[in-house]
């Protein structure tokens, strides 16, 4: 199953995450209908689309839950379609899942410690400092329970927790959901910073404007299919995208 690591694909670029023809079902309902997405090393790629288009399903399918019924997902050339979630995560992929899913009864620090489950102990202190530097508010809240944080702080915690495993590829699922515009801006700035430090980012967003401005490339999803793709600027300028996702106050 394993091809040469860091497979060069049709486009000749260094593809890290390669999603090919993926179909996913919830029972009889088909959520994904043959999705093709490439995420190259060092990029920020965003996937935008309306509610229920299948964006979160795609991210979850990449993590192996639910499993793809058809198609193939490779990470650095290694087929991960049928791997268990925790094995995929141990290969250097981390996700800040939808709904944040932080541990509300544990302290911020404990949450971050859990994020470092797969990492080496020697890096722990340095990684913790790095997360605290990215999100200074977490440093102040270190001994507070996760459930007592505000929505924005919880999102920062979720991202910070994902970073603790030193991922090569970071998946973010709607980090802006339910947050004040100021906080959204702050979070997107940090995502750019994370990317500059060498982590590839795959960002799923409803907030198309911010996401497309940030991203190198973008995909637009509707009804479980990719209907458009291009660079961030191209998509921002696209009339269809403007009409469907940007008009009306994002």
């Amino acid at each position: 199953m394993t091809e040469a690591a860091g497979a060069e694909t049709r486009s000749g670029r260094d593809v890290m995450l390669d999603i090919r023809g993926v179909e996913t079902f919830y029972g009889r309902i088909q959520a994904l209908r043959g999705v093709d997405i490439e995420v190259c090393r060092g990029e920020i790629v965003t996937l935008i689309g309306a509610n229920g288009a299948g964006k979160s399903t795609l991210l979850m399918t990449v993590c192996g839950d639910p499993r793809a019924a058809a198609g193939r997902i490779t990470l650095d050339g290694v087929d991960i379609t049928y791997k268990a979630t925790f094995e995929i995560v141990r290969m250097g992929l981390a996700q800040a899942p939808e709904g944040r899913r932080i541990f509300p009864r544990m302290t911020v620090r404990e949450n971050l410690q859990l994020g470092a489950t797969t990492g080496d102990e020697e890096h722990f202190d340095g990684d913790l400092e790095r997360v605290y530097d990215l999100f200074p508010i977490l440093r102040n809240r270190a001994d507070q329970r996760g459930g007592t944080l505000s929505g924005g702080e919880q999102q920062m915690l979720a991202i910070g927790r994902a970073l603790m495993s030193r991922p090569r590829l970071l998946l973010l699922d709607e980090p802006s959901l339910g947050l004040a515009p100021m906080i959204v801006k702050q979070i997107f700035e940090v995502v750019a910073e994370i990317n500059n430090a060498g982590t590839t980012v795959f960002l799923v967003e409803q907030n198309a404007y911010h996401a497309l401005r940030l991203a190198d490339r973008g995909y637009v999803m509707a009804n479980g299919r990719i209907i458009l793709s291009g660079t961030g600027e191209e998509l921002l300028a696209n009339a269809e995208v403007r009409a469907a996702y940007l008009e009306g106050g994002h």
């Binding site: 964006k55 993590c63 839950d65 979630t85 899942p97 541990f103 859990l114 959901l177 799923v204």
Partner: protein, 530 residues
């Protein structure tokens, strides 16, 4: 008493009151007629059915009177209630104290304690209504006595819940101090004046259940896996020890060993066997969740018991294995020579020390052994929470999906929790075997699992001190109140119901209120996402 109702200031729904009283009587009658009404007695040459309908009638009458008082209080007749309840209490107390044998037959129930409880109940009603009366007299000016009364009724339980919440929070904050005090008290207990063999025995029993509760708390409280078959590991531990330690064990005879293996050697082995049983059970079933896992563990508990019952060549089935020696001390046996011929060439601890053999000394030894074992369990639990594996257990209880997305292998993590929990069950099992000197499958029925789980639930999931309190309430009190005979279980059940109504999350559970909100929010956003 019912005659006073029509004179009340407010219109009274007589029919409703009659239905209420009748309903109460009916429920109490239905409950008591089977539980109390028929009593099977041992008589020479068999058993006899003893009909105790007088007791049933008394119970029904008491229920009607109490309900009547409640109704009267609801309608504002506090004076009537205060007077009649005080009268009843006074009569009961006087006749209990000074009545002697002549009055006894006229009192309801035979057990002294029940009569005292009745007296306390009526006194409580008298005081309660007197307090209300005083409270009502003051705000008469506002003319809204009834409304205020209602408001106070509603507020009281809330205040109480808040108080208990504060208590639990305090307990959690000062856990170290409370733990130290409890430890010192426990260490000094056998040497306190007034502690006799009976109390010591009860203390050993309570400590055994505390240890079991702490052990199960690893599985249920920390890892959040509902285990209804914990007694299986208790049984595995008990039999692992019994089979190697008792000279009567078929295994020992098959092996051709004449002497049993020491408790201290067997203890780790029993823990290991129980842990293996835990892992063996866990491996196929841990992909199940919640209720399904509970059902399978329930079945596993029964499987172990039935196996022990039927594997006659190894376990001697229902006959059980007897002659299990008590733990040795510094290499010396602690048995008296009288009951064991095979030990003739060994030296006993009491002879080595030049003491007389005393059963109490053996019990004190057992007490300290179980105290040390229980503390070891507690220490393990407290420490493991700070280690990655313990943190992973707790995280798994909170959110399995998040755990997987962090690279935690859920199956392995659950298996370790199951294994460690089972191990401590196994340790407690070997202690049980050495204390009873006899094991049979009968000791490992489902009710044991239920009691251990009740201790954990009642104490509040994950609360270490809560387990101590609950074990004392559930095991210690019924033992102390043995005098109550079968009413004991009625009280047991009743207090369980009351505690669960009052503190549904457990006596000393202290949870952040944000959890529930967060749970709702998380679910809502899952629903709306693409």
């Amino acid at each position: 008493m019912a005659a006073t109702i029509p004179h009340a200031g407010r219109p009274v729904d007589r029919r409703g009151i009659l239905i209420e009283l009748g309903g109460t009587a009916l429920v109490v009658f239905a409950l008591t007629v089977s539980l109390v009404g028929f009593h099977i007695k041992d008589i020479s040459g068999g058993i006899a059915l003893d009909l105790r309908f007088v007791d049933v009638a008394s119970a029904v009458a008491i229920a009607i009177v109490v309900r009547g008082w409640l109704i009267l209080m609801r309608h504002g007749h506090h004076r009537v209630v205060a007077a009649s309840a005080a009268a009843v209490a006074a009569v009961l107390v006087v006749s209990l104290l000074f009545g002697g044998a002549g009055v006894q037959p006229w009192l309801p129930f035979k057990a002294q304690l029940l009569q005292w409880l009745l007296a306390v109940l009526s006194a409580g009603f008298a005081i309660g209504s007197a307090v209300r009366m005083a409270r009502e007299r003051r705000p008469v000016l506002s003319g809204a006595g009834a409304a205020q009364d209602g408001a106070q009724d509603g507020a009281a339980p809330d205040e109480q819940a808040a108080l208990m919440d504060r208590v639990s929070a305090q307990v959690q904050r000062n856990a170290l101090w409370i733990g130290a005090v409890l430890f010192l008290a426990a260490a000094a207990f056998p040497f306190m004046p007034g502690v006799n063999l009976q109390y010591l025995d009860i203390a050993v029993l309570v400590l055994t259940y505390i240890m079991l509760g702490w052990g199960l708390n690893i599985v249920v409280g920390l890892a959040g896996l509902l285990d209804l078959g914990y007694v299986a590991f208790y049984a595995v531990g008990a039999y692992s020890f019994a089979l190697f330690a008792s000279p009567d064990s078929p295994l020992l005879q098959d092996l051709g060993w004449t002497e049993g293996v020491s408790f201290w050697l067997c203890l780790p082995f029993a823990g290991l066997m129980a842990a293996l049983a835990g892992v063996a059970l866990g491996f196929p079933v841990l992909r199940l969740r919640g209720d399904y896992l509970a059902i399978v563990t329930l079945g596993f508990g029964e499987m172990i018991r039935v196996t022990l019952l039927n594997f006659y060549s190894l376990t001697k089935g229902p006959d059980g294995i007897s002659n299990i020696p008590p733990p040795s001390l510094l290499g010396y046996s602690t048995q008296s020579k009288m009951d064991e011929e095979t030990l003739e060439n060994t030296t006993e601890f009491h002879t080595a020390m030049g003491w007389e053999f005393d059963q109490a000394d053996t019990t004190i030894l057992l007490y300290f052994v179980i105290l040390a074992m229980a503390l070891a369990t507690n220490f393990f639990t407290v420490r493991v929470r700070k280690l990655p594996v313990g943190r992973a257990w707790e995280a798994l209880r909170e959110d399995e999906i998040a755990c997987r997305s962090l690279g935690i292998n859920p199956t392995n993590t659950k298996l370790t929790a199951f294994g460690f929990g089972a191990m401590f069950g196994g340790f407690a099992g070997s202690f049980f075997a050495t204390r009873q000197t006899f094991v049979s499958p009968e000791s490992f029925t489902f009710i044991e699992s239920a009691v251990i789980l009740a201790i954990v639930v009642l104490g509040g999931f994950g609360s270490q001190i809560g387990v101590v309190v609950a074990a004392f309430l559930l095991i210690g009190l019924p033992e102390i109140f043995r005098e109550l005979q079968e009413y004991r279980m009625l009280f047991f059940g009743g207090s369980m119901v009351l505690i669960m109504l009052w503190r549904p999350a457990g006596l000393l559970a202290h949870r952040e209120p944000t959890i529930r909100m967060h749970g709702r929010r998380a679910r809502a956003s899952t629903g709306s996402g693409g």
